[in-house]
């Protein structure tokens, strides 16, 4: 277990370095540079030279990376040349929006998916087929299209929920919840389908094992067999899905925040991309990667906690 965690930690640190370095190298390889972006279309060569020097662009690229890295470790991700705002501050401002979205969507995914999966494993028949259909829909429909359709249904046709925008939790908890219903549903739907399918398969696998027969034979009631024994065993493969789901949820926020005009990190990334604000998007990538590796670590710990064979190692 300790070795597994150590391995994960090493990989995680290496990944964060690799991602940030790769974005830096990409910048160097790209046509145009930050100085030119800042100066716009008309500028004098002297002004360009001066700015180029001020920004440290004269230095070799690896030295530039080193400067960025030493500051990044202290929480300073640089300044956006486009908006002039500090990258870390911008990210901190927008983080609560994306965090609300992703955390709620993860919970909805796990709870909804596992419940549906257990139900369809135990009941089969009509529920099973419904889960199949749902998982096909969740798999095939683009999240942004689904989002727009839901806006049409719930905000335009019947004015039930706000179509766009975000209300901070501190301002109004009810408004916060209402503003999250549609985006979280859109985000969670594909994941719910995936979880339901995997949970069902894992439950069916667990329920077909020898120990289930032995427990039934010795008088353990069906409720305990399903919820205590089979579900606990099935949770071992299912919990590894949480990490993968989170990666796709983070990707999903890019689209969903755009549709619902939510001022989160996904929206920031899109805006930075269209403005060629590489500093800013680099910061977003690093933060997203940090979130993913942290969650992967937690998932590994949970996996070990659930699976005695791993824990013992």
């Amino acid at each position: 277990m300790a070795r597994l965690i150590l391995y994960r930690l090493l990989i995680s640190v290496a990944l964060v370095f690799a991602i940030s370095l790769a974005t830096f190298l990409l910048q160097a390889a790209a046509p145009g540079d930050i100085a030119r972006t800042i100066l716009g279309d008309h500028f004098s060569p002297e002004a360009y030279q001066r700015l180029h020097h001020e920004l440290g662009l004269d230095d070799p690229i690896l030295l530039q990376y080193w400067h960025w890295l030493t500051q990044a470790i202290q929480g300073d991700l640089g300044t956006s040349p486009i908006s002039g705002l500090p990258v870390a501050g911008e990210i901190a401002n927008r983080l609560p929006v994306t965090a609300s979205l992703v955390i709620c969507a993860t919970i909805a995914t796990a709870v909804g998916g596992v419940a549906l999966g257990v139900l369809s494993a135990v009941r089969g028949g009509r529920v099973g087929r419904a889960v199949d259909v749902l998982s096909l829909i969740g798999y095939a429909l683009p999240s942004f299209w689904l989002a727009l359709t839901m806006v049409t249904l719930f905000s335009v046709t019947v004015e039930l929920l706000p179509a766009t925008g975000y209300v901070p939790l501190a301002t109004s908890p009810a408004g916060w919840a209402r503003s999250l219903v549609l985006p979280v549903t859109t985000l969670a739907l594909p994941g719910i389908a995936l979880f339901a399918k995997q949970t069902r398969d894992a439950m069916l696998e667990a329920l077909s094992r020898d120990f289930v027969t032995a427990l039934r034979a010795n008088g353990i009631p069906e409720r305990s067999i399903v919820f205590r024994h089979a579900l606990r065993n099935a949770s071992i493969p299912v919990v590894t899905l949480v990490g993968l789901t989170l990666v796709s949820l983070l990707s999903g926020t890019v689209f969903v925040e755009a549709v619902f005009a939510m001022p989160g990190l996904g929206g920031l990334a899109v805006q930075a991309t269209s403005q060629h604000d590489i500093r800013m998007i680099q910061g977003v990538v690093v933060v997203f990667t940090l979130v993913v590796v942290t969650v992967n670590l937690v998932v590994d710990l949970a996996y070990g906690w659930l699976n005695p064979k791993v824990r013992a190692r």
């Binding site: 290496a14 010795n218 008088g219 997203f288 005695p308």
Partner: protein, 612 residues
């Protein structure tokens, strides 16, 4: 998925590709031709899928827009194929730290947030589609690389390949002849799914405005344009969404189909819903035995797997059920507790336990507290995620209840009863030896103080010395508790040591039953005689081990007469007719027409058409 069903997604994709490729020929309008008289028209005769905010024909724009999407998806798929398969094969030939490094890289790449990273590429390269799609392909290739590496590695490990490598078979040959054919299936499955994912991401990026620039159509920009007029003409969302969704669905279904065709078939046993009390009318006759099985037939998924079973167990008695694998012994044991696999039912007869017919009652009150069971594979019979104390404790709580402390004390008592140390309580099943696991299994079975224990091959999976200990334990527990045992086994030594009476089962029939001594000394069925001959014993040392020629017929291939006739040296034409049960000696029954040939003395004879 059937072949017919797989034709639908394939057909859809072919039509889609043709429609997009042939758009310049087929499309009714030019993609950017505006018709300002028919803005946001909805479906009409001139515009079957309607027009957008500028009066442009939606069908035409869908066809032209698909060109971009399909080309982009193709770039992604090709990149994944090249990057994933080549790196996977290369890694499969690596050893040592290079192989480890490959795994590190794959683990790292699986944690990259793909879309945001893709946005970096788009920001740097100013929205260059091709670069973005190639990057996407590389970012999502590690999954395929891992699959390919696994297969390559497995092929390399196979003995004949290893041997061929020693004698100088070039790696190129191994890859082309052995690895590629084997990875083709999984690769196609993954690529098919990834193609759908690529379409999705491509549409998403162009929805965000990072794809082809207006006025040129893409599916993503069409959705974006539709969203701008969502309150005036929501219909516009439907065509691009449905076309795109169906394409992704089609790729996914094709992938599923290829997986079904290529993957090794693993039978998926559906979970059995909890049974409601069975609505049969009891046919039971009064009996003094603890368990009396009368004329029971069992069917699995409509096929009869055991018929006319008659078996009696008295209180405190040990009864053996003997036969080769596949004769129906385990099914019979399971049927008693209504634990047949899905689709299994008792179709006839009665099983009276202690005055109630088990085939007509709810067994929840019986399992564990009246009849319990221990299984063949002791480790697999324990739940791997709970400790011994938790598992035994749950049964103690179920059958006796009590406070936490009382339960704990009882658990330790039970463990002591089966000669296990207190320390075992805290262990998980994977930390137990087979013998210890079986003792835990016995402790769990004893938790409800049952009057009958069904022991299904309880020692088959154990070492010989451990076998003896477990059998001794069972005998002692039986003597202490006055518990009856139905011992299912194929081992005559165990029958002789443990049982008072034994039933010999062959192909779903009980062919002979008698007190064990009589059965071993004077078998009256050729199958029993054959089984006893097939048993290695010391006094026959030097002689060839006798074996019964042939195999047990499958239930669907049972003959109408004696099930054993095909393998029987004594078979006569009469054996083709249904065989009644004879009782040539008191309490000794046989289902053989020619049993006289086996008995020296003969004795009085009685025919009973029902039970052996």
């Amino acid at each position: 998925m059937s072949r017919k069903l797989a034709a639908a997604p394939l057909g859809y994709l072919i039509v889609l590709v043709l429609a997009c490729v042939l758009a310049p020929v087929l499309a009714p309008y030019s993609p950017n031709a505006t018709d300002l008289d028919n803005v946001l028209s909805g479906p009409t005769v001139q515009h079957p899928l309607g027009t957008d905010g500028l009066g442009r024909d939606v069908l035409t724009r869908l066809m032209y827009g698909g060109q971009v999407s399909l080309v982009n998806a193709a770039i992604v798929v090709l990149t994944v194929l090249l990057a994933g398969v080549t790196s996977g094969i290369a890694a499969g030939f690596l050893d040592g730290w290079l192989d480890k490094a490959f795994n590190w890289v794959v683990d790292m790449m699986l944690a990259i947030p793909v879309i945001v990273t893709l946005l970096v590429v788009l920001a740097v390269f100013g929205g260059n589609q091709t670069v973005a799609m190639i990057s996407l392909g590389i970012l999502i290739s590690p999954g395929l690389a891992r699959v390919t590496r696994g297969t390559t590695f497995a092929v390399r490990q196979e003995l004949y390949i290893a041997a061929a490598r020693v004698s100088g078979l070039p790696n190129r040959h191994i890859v082309v002849r052995h690895v590629l054919p084997r990875v083709a299936g999984p690769v196609i499955v993954q690529l098919s799914v990834l193609a759908g994912g690529a379409l999705l991401i491509d549409a998403g990026l162009s929805y965000l405005g990072f794809g082809a620039q207006p006025p040129d159509p893409t599916w993503g920009t069409m959705i974006a344009e539709a969203s701008a007029v969502i309150d005036r003409q929501p219909w516009l969302l439907i065509p691009p969404g449905v076309v795109l969704g169906l394409a992704i669905l089609a790729f996914g279904m094709l992938g599923d189909y290829v997986r079904d065709v290529t993957a090794e078939r693993t039978e998926r046993v559906p979970a059995r819903p909890p049974r409601r009390p069975r609505r049969r009318i009891s046919t039971a006759a009064p009996t003094t035995a603890l368990l009396s099985i009368q004329d029971v037939s069992i069917a699995l998924a409509g096929t009869t797997v055991a018929e006319n079973l008659c078996l009696e167990i008295d209180t405190g008695q040990t009864v053996g059920l003997v036969g080769e694998s596949g004769c129906g012994k385990t099914i019979t044991g399971r049927a008693i507790l209504d634990l047949l696999p899905a689709g299994g039912t008792v179709t006839r007869g009665s099983m009276v336990f202690n005055g109630t017919d088990l085939t007509t009652t709810d067994l929840r009150a019986v399992r564990g507290s009246e009849i319990a069971m221990i299984s063949q594979d002791p480790v697999a019979a324990l739940d791997p995620v709970f400790t011994v104390a938790q598992q035994v404790g749950e049964l103690v709580r179920r059958h006796h209840g009590g406070s936490r402390r009382e339960v704990r004390a009882r658990v330790l008592d039970l463990l002591r009863d089966v000669d296990l140390d207190e320390k075992v309580a805290a262990r998980y099943p994977h930390q137990l030896s087979g013998g210890m696991a079986q003792r835990v299994g016995i402790a769990m079975a004893l938790a409800g103080e049952p009057r009958l224990l069904i022991a299904d091959e309880p020692t088959t999976a154990l070492d010989v010395t451990v076998q003896a200990e477990v059998l001794r334990l069972l005998r002692r527990l039986q003597a202490d508790r006055g518990m009856a045992i139905l011992l299912i086994t194929h081992d005559w030594a165990i029958v002789a040591e443990m049982c008072q009476r034994a039933y010999v089962m062959y192909a779903g029939h009980i062919v002979e039953s008698a007190p064990v001594r009589d059965l071993v000394d004077r078998p009256l069925h050729p199958y029993t005689a054959g089984l006893l001959g097939a048993r290695p014993t010391r006094d026959r040392r030097g002689r060839r081990l006798a074996a019964i020629p042939g195999v047990v017929p499958r239930p669907s291939a049972w003959p109408s007469g004696c099930h054993f006739a095909e393998r029987c040296a004594l078979a006569t034409p009469e054996c083709a007719d249904p065989v009644p049960v004879f009782e040539p000696e008191p309490a000794h029954q046989t289902r053989c027409v020619n049993h006289v040939l086996l008995s020296e003395g003969g004795g009085h004879e009685r025919t009973s058409a029902e039970c052996a």
